[in-house]
Amino acid sequence: MKNKFFFGKFLVAIVAICLLPLNSCTNLDETLYDKVPESNYFRDEAEVKSGVSQVYATLFGLNNHGGYFSTQEVNSNEVLYPQRGGDWEDGRQWLKTYQHVQDGSEDCFRGSWNWLFTGVANANWAIYNIGAASDKGNIDAAKGAGFVAEMRGLRALYYYWLLDTYGNVPIVDNYIQPAGFLPTSNTRAEVYAFVEKELTEISGSLSRDVGGANYARFNYYCAQFLLSKLYLNAQVYKGAAEWDKASAAANEIISSGKYSLNATYRDNFVTNNSGSKENILAVPYDKVFAQGFNLPQMTLHYESQKTFNLEAQPWNGVCTAQDFYNSVDAADARKVNFIAGPQFASDGVTGLVDPQVEAADPDGPGLNFTPEVNALFPNCLRQAGARIGKYEIALGSTPNLSNDAQVFRYADALLVKAEADARKAGDWSNAGTVALVNQVRTRSGMPAFTTLDADAFLKERSAELFYEGWRRSDLIRFGKFGEPTILRPTASGANKQLWPIPKTQINSNPNLGQNDGY
């Protein structure tokens, strides 16, 4: 071949060319500058703790707008996001959630699922990496085991919420999975058993210290509180009651003597409520370090910015359902949970005015939160609905409150035991139950009960635990979830007690089953 000669030369040239940038000729390794490869982290206790911190930090999404908590609350008909003209239509997700006609395509059901399973995944991630750090000797094995127990506790909390809402969900308890792994749905009973097993197994490894360094951590009493809730609802979750176990778990907390009721109800919700003795588990929100608690933004009217000198304009969203508002006695100190009536600037005397008030508003432009909510949609008045004042709003607040949000509260533990004992005894007026309920009730200036029935008990729970995320499971347990309310005049079926598995997940994972009724 004639051409061999120059092809040969070519080859030499190419080789010469490639030799020029010797070391980097084919080097395509990646260098990270602003992140650390996971495989290169968790080298000491401080780094392990920063990972533990991350799993706790996933809880900061709890009280953020539009998430799991909001969906629980709206679904219970305790609060609502009415559609105010052009505002808050939000693809009808809140309307459908309130009316119990959701189908799983709504953002809020997708977001709730994603948040809960992100919590699970973060816990799995931490459990795996803490284990690996212990194995490598990067952290003291006993300390590592303690952290793992806490992480399993938090994972059990997320699974408890999943059990309570979506019911039949996949149990995934390992971070390392084969590529393309798509988990399969477990039954609600299996999820129940998983939560029970996890909490039981870790109880011995959890700290029994309360407050101080252990404040807002998943300690032994958190596990007992969660177990008490699990058992209290066992009839709903797995079809068999566990009143004894519920009472016993709650009693572990009560008899420990480590918790007590605050002097006033409001003490639980003030800006500086950290370290409260009534607080078993809280999300320790902070406007700087632990952001996400944006209740004032969610609930207050645009003009209310001037009442509290808020840094950002609120969104005029969530308000209290009229029937719920009315169910709390006017004399009850717990009425502080609601902001109603004419509104004033921070000087307390200058009345606020809403320049865009609807012509249809009978009160006119003066800002006045009426307990009456004229419509769920489409033209709820801008000023309708008592707003949620449960947590103190400090003057000059940013969109991130510093109040700690209640997750497990001692008053609830008292009521859980009261209820379990009553149901076990088949008598709402048994002395133990009445005494426990009165501890909670009289604090808020209400006269003590001498006798009780299921309705009175539920009403007491409602007043005490408004906007703490328990209303939905309470109504289901008391068989009242589907009953009509003012803005939901049609009763809903039992199969709306479970939430729909979000369509996005069903579509992309064929191993997931949909709940009955969807």
Binding site: K9, A13, I14, S24, T26, N27, L28, E30, Y33, D34, K35, V36, E38, Y41, E47, S50, G51, S53, Q54, Y56, A57, F60, Q83, G86, D87, E89, D90, G91, E106, D107, N114, F117, T118, V120, A121, N122, W125, V172, Y175, Q177, L182, P183, A213, A216, R217, P284, K287, V288, F289, A290, Y302, E311, A312, Q313, P355, Q356, T398, N507, S508, N509
Partner: protein, 980 residues
């Protein structure tokens, strides 16, 4: 064979031998002469004269004269000039050789392909060239505007008249889901450059590689096509100085009409706040601009240089928007080692100070209550307050939004001719881009500041380092002309930046200049972030070209390319291409055709993901801190998207078949071609399955896309005074053939607030018959009922008033079906004129203002848009529907120029003097009721209440005319060109 001169005349061999003998006697001699245009006898400046068989050569001076040293043994001189047929002259005894070159055959025009050039006749793939004289004229604020409508298949859309916005460029439709759906820009050999880092006046030619067989040599990033920019270089001969100047006036061309105060109150039930304000007038102005550009060039046979300095000061039609830009470039070329070594160095800087202003002002000027006064009696701005209520005048007068950009580059190229036909070259380049954004919102501003003062400073820089070596070989074997190229390329991109944002300051004096004064820093609520990442691309590539007798042409290329962005086992990809052509006119006489070439090509190109480190699981501080051991401990967690070590190259394979032809004695030339491409393993950020994933999204290879089209380019010299040319494209629908996992269809592009946050414009689907991208799926509104509410069509076409029963239809498609560019050039004596019309047809736009502010049923706190669709009886609630999707076909008089060139006396100090008057975007014919019917190729999603538009824009949902479009501008320019 009429253009070929490689066949010796009879007896040539004897002559050659005789010459050879002569050359033994003369060791070296100097040959001089003049190269002229055969048509008019004028000297050709910068024509290349080379001594065949040696590296010697020269170029002609400004009068066309040359002088070249002819060494021993050399027998032929080759004369070439862009646009003219090359001639080879066998030397006789005479030392003066004058040559008249023949123009008009275009076939010998040199076209830049990747890493080299080819004669236009040798091109077997789809390559289009636009020369400086064919560029769009006028006040060019974006280099892409130069090419708008000039190349079939290249759509350049620049919706709105914002001087600081850059064009969306699409070559042959959508070919990737990634944000990088614009063609790769290669400037003077440096791939991945910003088209706007150079001054428009410096561009000599732009070559567009349209198909895979042409762009595969660029492997990665070639899949959206390649735009190769060649800048002007100095040429040997007399030095020259030129000056161009331009003054411009911009006025609003189109806007959205709104109700006046009295109609707003009476029809829409809006609150009467007592004043009567035309908010649109209050936020706009006549934009006055000026441009000056000066360049110096010249050189000797061994050294040539060119330097440019330019300045442009542009004002937009929105008050407080505009920019000032300074460009400086310098290039030097030096020959050495007996002309065997050619060294060239280029440097450039570009400095731009932009007032970005606030496009939001257009949005709020459109919807703000027209009865609201601008200011209160006490001089403060009147603010209605509440959601989506911002006084537009306050927005632009109280706040500033500035950007400072600096780009600078330097490169050196060395080319060594080792022996005849074989050369080695090396190239190094560093390009830097540094951008600084500075925003400040007054302590009295509601917009973004919440009346507490807000400063935001952002800096992002990028660096592009390139090292490249190539070897070129070319030789003729009888009738076979063979060229080969082999090369290695190493390129590294480095990106870093930071952002500070803080609020709370008692004075408006500081802007971003004293961050320490802001309360948020003390409070711990200020934002400060920074980032840094890089990626490397390494490639080995080769290409061979065969040209047999100027009749049969074959090109083959192969690039092996690796990107650091993929996981360990997927870093490397192979990108082959092959194409061939036949000059049919050489084989047989085809009636009327002066030339006719059939060509076909196949090529594979690739795309890399838009982010680095996607295969690695990473941790970093998440910004929050949980309460651990009695204090807040920063949380470190999983960061970014779920690691995907299996992510691999997205590849596009395409075929291209075309004809190039010339008729009527070359008066009519053109090409017709068809392409079809399939993109596989589309890289896309998908929603991850939860459980088991940790992050909400994963970058994955998700599907398959298909695109096809027909392109026609025609140019006809009607007579010596009028040339007309057409670039036309027919786009077939973009089809999604596969989509990931079990997704048959998914909704994208949220409509937005108020009230439509869970409505979507489009569905991305692989269901049979629904797999076209860009379809608007909308509720089918039939009409406005007598009660003012909508009457819908249900799925069967029957009318219903129940929204729940209303059917959803395909209300249009956001992707254009046709694009036409029609250029007419006239010359008459000293006068010249150019008229350019452009039309884009077949696309629809979702007119978002109408979807929110047209019906009178709700949203009455905002003004209503008063288009031809406005109906005072329409009392429905506002929503996106089939009513608000409109056909957006348009015909635009894009550019018109009239120029006069002065005849100068021979003793004039000037060598050239020309004045011209130019108008841009003079009128638009369209039925579309929005501001600009231009296609929208990407969507940034909804924005409301003064929030910022997303920086990552999706190409999945084209055609959405969001509420933040800057109004379009009509520009009138007066310009001068002088040569000294």
């Amino acid at each position: 064979m009429k253009f070929l001169s490689n066949s010796f005349p009879k007896g040539g061999l004897l002559v050659a031998i005789a010459l050879l003998l002569c050359n033994f006697a003369f060791a070296q001699r100097t040959v001089k002469g003049k190269v002229t245009d055969s048509e008019n006898g004028e000297g050709l400046i910068g024509a290349t004269v080379s001594v065949v068989g040696t590296p010697r050569g020269s170029v002609t001076d400004i009068d066309g004269n040359y002088s070249v040293a002819v060494p021993d043994g050399a027998t032929q001189l080759r004369f070439s000039y862009t646009g003219f047929t090359e001639q080879t002259i066998t030397l006789a005894a005479a030392n003066v050789v004058d040559v008249a070159l023949v123009s008009g055959t275009k076939l010998d025009e040199v076209v830049v392909v990747g890493y080299g050039t080819l004669k236009s006749r040798e091109i077997t793939s789809s390559v289009a060239r636009v020369k400086a004289e064919d560029f769009n004229k006028g006040n060019v604020v974006d280099v892409a505007q130069l090419l708008q409508g000039k190349v079939a298949g290249l759509t350049i859309s620049r919706p709105g008249g914002d001087p600081n916005s850059f064009a969306q460029i699409r070559l042959r439709g959508l070919s990737t889901f990634g944000p990088n759906s614009s063609p790769l820009v290669v400037i003077d050999g440096v791939p991945g450059q910003n088209l706007n880092s150079i001054d428009p006046n410096d561009i000599e030619t732009v070559d567009v590689l349209k198909d895979g067989s042409a762009s595969a040599i660029y492997g990665t990033r070639g899949s959206s096509g390649v735009i190769i920019v060649t800048t002007k270089k100095g040429q040997a001969g007399k030095s020259a100085v030129t000056y161009s100047g331009l003054v411009s006036f911009d006025n609003i061309e189109r806007k959205v009409n709104v109700l006046d105060g009295s109609r707003y109150v009476s029809l829409a039930g809006g609150s009467n706040l007592g004043a009567n304000t035309n908010w649109l007038d209050e936020v706009t102005q006549t934009g006055k601009s000026q441009t000056h550009s000066m360049n110096l060039s010249g050189g000797t046979a061994a050294t040539s240089y060119r330097a440019t300095l330019s300045y442009r000061d542009v004002d937009g039609i929105a008050r407080t928007s505009g920019f000032k830009q300074y460009n400086g470039t310098m290039s030097i070329t030096q020959k050495a080692m007996s002309d065997r070594l050619n060294l060239s160095a280029n440097f450039g800087i570009n400095n731009r100070d932009a007032d970005l202003g606030f496009a939001d002002a257009f949005r709020y000027a459109t919807i703000y209550n027209p009865t609201a006064p601008i200011k209160n009696a006490n001089g403060s701005y009147y603010e209605i307050g509440g959601f989506e209520q911002f006084n537009p005048v306050a927005i632009i007068e109280q706040n500033t939004n500035k950007k400072n950009s600096n780009t600078y580059f330097g490169n050196l190229r060395a080319e060594l001719k080792l022996f005849e036909g074989f050369s080695l070259s090396g190239f190094v380049n560093r390009s830097n881009e540094l951008n600084k954004n500075a925003e400040f919102y007054s302590k009295t501003a509601l917009f973004r500041s919440g009346n507490r003062g807000l400063a935001r400073a952002e800096e992002f820089r990028s660096r592009n380092d390139l090292f490249e070596t190539t070897a070129n070989y070319g030789k003729k074997f009888g009738k076979l002309d063979f060229k080969a190229l082999a090369g290695y390329s190493w390129q590294k991109f480095d990106y870093a930046g930071w952002l500070n944002q803080a609020g709370g300051v008692g004075v408006d004096n500081f802007g971003i200049d004293n961050f320490g004064a802001y309360a948020d820093f003390k409070a711990g609520t200020a934002t400060t972030t920074s980032y840094h990442n890089d990626n490397t691309l390494i490639a080995q590539f080769g290409r061979v070209n065969f040209n047999y007798d100027d009749t049969y042409f074959i090109t083959g290329s192969l690039r092996r390319e690796g990107s650091s962005r993929f996981g360990e086992n997927n870093k490397w990809g192979l990108f082959p291409a092959v194409s061939g052509g036949i000059a049919l006119d050489k084989l047989a006489t085809i009636g009327g055709f002066n030339s006719l070439k059939l060509r076909a090509g196949f090529g594979v190109t690739g795309s890399i993901p838009p982010e680095s480190y996607l295969s690695i699981a990473k941790v970093s501080p998440t910004g929050n801190a949980a309460y651990i051991d009695g204090g807040y401990l920063p949380a470190w967690g999983f960061s970014g998207t779920n690691a995907n070590p299996d992510l691999k190259w997205e590849t596009k394979s395409d075929i291209n078949v075309g004809f190039d032809f010339a008729l009527l004695d070359y008066k009519l030339t053109g090409s017709l071609e068809y392409y079809k491409s399939t993109v596989s393993d589309l890289i896309f950020e998908i929603t991850a399955n939860l459980p088991p994933n940790l992050g909400p999204t994963t970058w994955a290879n998700v599907g398959k896309l298909e695109n096809s089209g027909i392109e026609l380019a025609l140019s006809y010299a009607v007579n010596s005074k009028w040339t007309t040319s057409l670039a036309a494209t027919k786009y077939f629908p973009t089809k999604l053939l596969e989509f990931y996992q079990n997704f048959k269809s998914q909704e994208y592009a949220v409509v937005g607030a108020p009230g439509q946050n869970s409505f979507f414009y489009q569905t991305v689907s692989v269901l049979d018959g629904e797999n076209e991208l860009g379809n608007f799926i909308a509720v089918d509104v039939a009409r406005v009922g007598t009660d003012g509410k909508y009457v819908y069509h249900d799925a069967t076409g029957a009318e219903t008033t129940d929204l729940a029963k209303a059917g959803k239809i395909n209300a249009g498609n956001g992707i254009p079906k046709y694009e036409l560019g029609w250029t007419n050039t006239f010359t008459h004596g000293n006068w010249d004129a150019q008229i350019f019309l452009r039309s884009v047809l077949g696309h629809s736009l979702a007119h978002e203002f109408r979807a929110f502010y047209e019906s009178l049923g709700d949203n009455n706190g905002w003004n209503k848009v008063d288009t031809k669709y406005f109906d005072a009886n329409n009392k429905a609630n506002n929503s996106y529907s089939s009513r608000t999707v409109e056909k957006a076909d348009f015909l635009r008089l894009d550019n018109m120029t009239i120029g006069y060139t002065f005849k100068l006396p021979t003793d004039s100090w000037f060598t050239k003097a020309r004045v011209f008057f130019n108008g841009q975007q003079l009128f638009t014919l369209t039925g579309y009721s929005g501001v600009d019917p231009s296609p929208r190729f990407v969507d940034a999603g909804p924005v409301d209440n003064g929030n910022r538009e997303a920086t990552v824009k999706s190409p999945l949902t084209p055609g959405i005319d969001r509420r933040n479009t800057y109004f379009t501008a009509r520009t009138l320019n007066l310009g001068v060109n002088f040569g000294f």
